[in-house]
Amino acid sequence: MSIKLINKQNVKEIDFVEDTKIEDILKQEEIPIETVVIKQNGETVTEDEIVNDNDEIEIIKVIYGG
C-alpha cells in the first residue's frame, strides 16, 4: 500500500503498513507536526487520521522555523 505525499513542489510515493497514522508518516519524513496543516484527499484532517491506500496527503507549512 502507498500514499502520495505532497509537500509544496516535492511529491513522493511512500509505502506504509496497515493502521498507519498521518502522524507516523510525518515523523518518518521528519516534518514537524506542530508547524503544518494536513489535507487528506483535499480535506483538512488531524494528524491522528489513519492513511488508506492511494491517499493524497498534502502538507501545508503554516509556521516558519522548525
Partner: protein, 318 residues
C-alpha cells in the same frame, strides 16, 4: 479509542484536536471558536471602545489576514471603523505576493486600504540597502533597518488617518517567545512592555493592540485556510537564524509533550508582570520624551533612530 467527532456539534469530520483542552472541532465550530476567543479577548482586555477607528497592519500573511477578518465582524456590527495599511519594503520575489493578497482581502471585506512603499517614502528599497550592506565588513541584518522604518510608517499612518488604535497580528507563539527571550536575556526593560496593549509613553504614538495574543500560531494558519483565504505562507528571504527562532523551536517542541506550556507561560507572566513593573519602574529613571530635530517625530534622543539610519543609508548607497 476516542471517536474522532466534533466535541461541540457531533459532526464526524474534525479539522483540529486541541491537546491543551481535549477539544476536537469541525471546521465550522473551529472558526466560531477562534472568532469567539478573539472577541472575548478584545472585550475582556478593553482593546477597543465603541466608535474607535482601528488601523490594521496588513502584511498579507496569515496573522494579519485573520486579524482583519475578525475585526471586520466588529466593523459590520458598527462597533468600530476599520482601515488597513500595508508596507512594501521592496523585497523582490517576496513582498509582491503579500501586497497583492492584502489588496484582495481588503477589497473582499470592503476595508479601506493604504499601501506605503519604502521606495516612495524614502527613495530606496530593502534590497538596495542590503546590496550596499554586503560590501561592509560587518553587514547589518535587513531586520534592523526594516523594523525601524516600518514602525515609523505605522505611527505616521495611524496619525494621518486619525486612528485610535493600531492593531497587529501578534499571536500566542510570538508573545511567549518574547517573554522567554527577554527573560533569558535579562531584558526587564523590554519585558515590562509586553502586553495586550501598549501604554502611551507619548501621546503622539497611537496605542497598539494585539487581539490574537491568545491564539496559537498554527490555529491562525488553519483558520485562514478554513476561511478560504489565500495566504502568503512564504518566509522572508532575509530572515536569518535568530535567537527568537531558536526559542520558537524550543517552545513548539516542548508543546508536543506539554500542550499547555504556551498558555501557562503567558498567564504566569501576566500574573507577575504588575509586581515586576512596580518594582522596576520605582528604580527606573526613564529619559523624558524628546522630539527629533530632523523629522519632528517622538524620540528619546536629539535625532531619532530612523533619521540616523537614513543618513547612514544615503552615504552607503550614493
Amino acid at each position: 479509542m476516542t471517536k474522532n467527532v466534533c466535541t461541540q456539534c457531533g459532526y464526524e469530520h474534525v479539522v483540529i484536536h486541541r491537546k491543551y483542552n481535549g477539544q476536537r472541532l469541525c471546521s465550522s465550530c473551529f472558526k466560531k471558536s477562534i472568532e469567539g476567543k478573539v472577541l472575548k479577548t478584545i472585550k475582556k482586555q478593553k482593546l477597543v471602545t465603541k466608535g474607535d477607528k482601528v488601523l490594521v497592519g496588513l502584511s498579507g500573511g496569515k496573522d494579519s489576514v485573520a486579524l482583519l477578518k475578525i475585526l471586520n465582524i466588529l466593523k459590520e456590527k458598527r462597533i468600530i471603523e476599520l482601515e488597513a495599511v500595508t508596507i512594501d519594503e521592496g523585497i523582490a520575489g517576496y513582498r509582491e505576493e503579500g501586497v497583492r493578497i492584502a489588496k484582495d482581502v481588503a477589497k473582499e471585506l470592503g476595508v479601506k486600504h493604504h499601501i506605503v512603499s519604502f521606495a516612495d517614502k524614502y527613495n530606496f528599497t530593502i534590497d538596495k540597502i542590503m546590496e550596499a550592506e554586503q560590501k561592509e565588513e560587518h553587514p547589518q541584518h535587513a531586520c534592523t533597518y526594516c523594523g525601524v522604518f516600518r514602525r515609523q510608517i505605522f505611527n505616521q499612518m495611524a496619525r494621518d488617518v486619525k486612528a485610535d488604535k493600531l492593531a497587529t497580528g501578534h499571536n500566542l507563539d510570538d508573545e511567549t517567545q518574547s517573554i522567554l527571550m527577554n527573560y533569558l536575556e535579562g531584558n526587564v526593560n523590554n519585558m515590562v512592555r509586553i502586553g495586550y496593549k501598549t501604554e502611551a509613553r507619548d501621546k503622539r504614538f497611537t496605542q497598539k493592540i494585539k487581539p490574537l495574543r491568545e491564539i496559537p500560531e498554527k490555529e491562525i494558519g488553519l483558520y485562514v485556510l478554513e476561511s478560504g483565504f489565500e495566504v502568503h505562507f512564504d518566509g522572508c528571504p532575509y530572515a536569518h537564524e535568530s535567537f527568537r527562532m531558536e526559542i520558537g523551536d524550543f517552545l513548539r517542541e516542548t508543546t508536543l509533550k506539554h500542550p499547555t506550556i504556551m498558555y501557562s507561560t503567558l498567564n504566569g507572566f501576566e500574573k507577575i508582570k504588575p509586581a515586576i513593573k512596580k518594582d522596576y519602574m520605582e528604580n527606573f529613571t526613564g529619559k523624558p520624551n524628546k522630539t527629533c530635530i530632523k523629522c519632528g517625530e517622538p524620540s528619546s534622543q536629539e535625532i531619532c533612530k530612523s533619521c540616523k539610519f537614513l543618513e547612514k543609508i544615503q552615504n552607503k548607497i550614493n
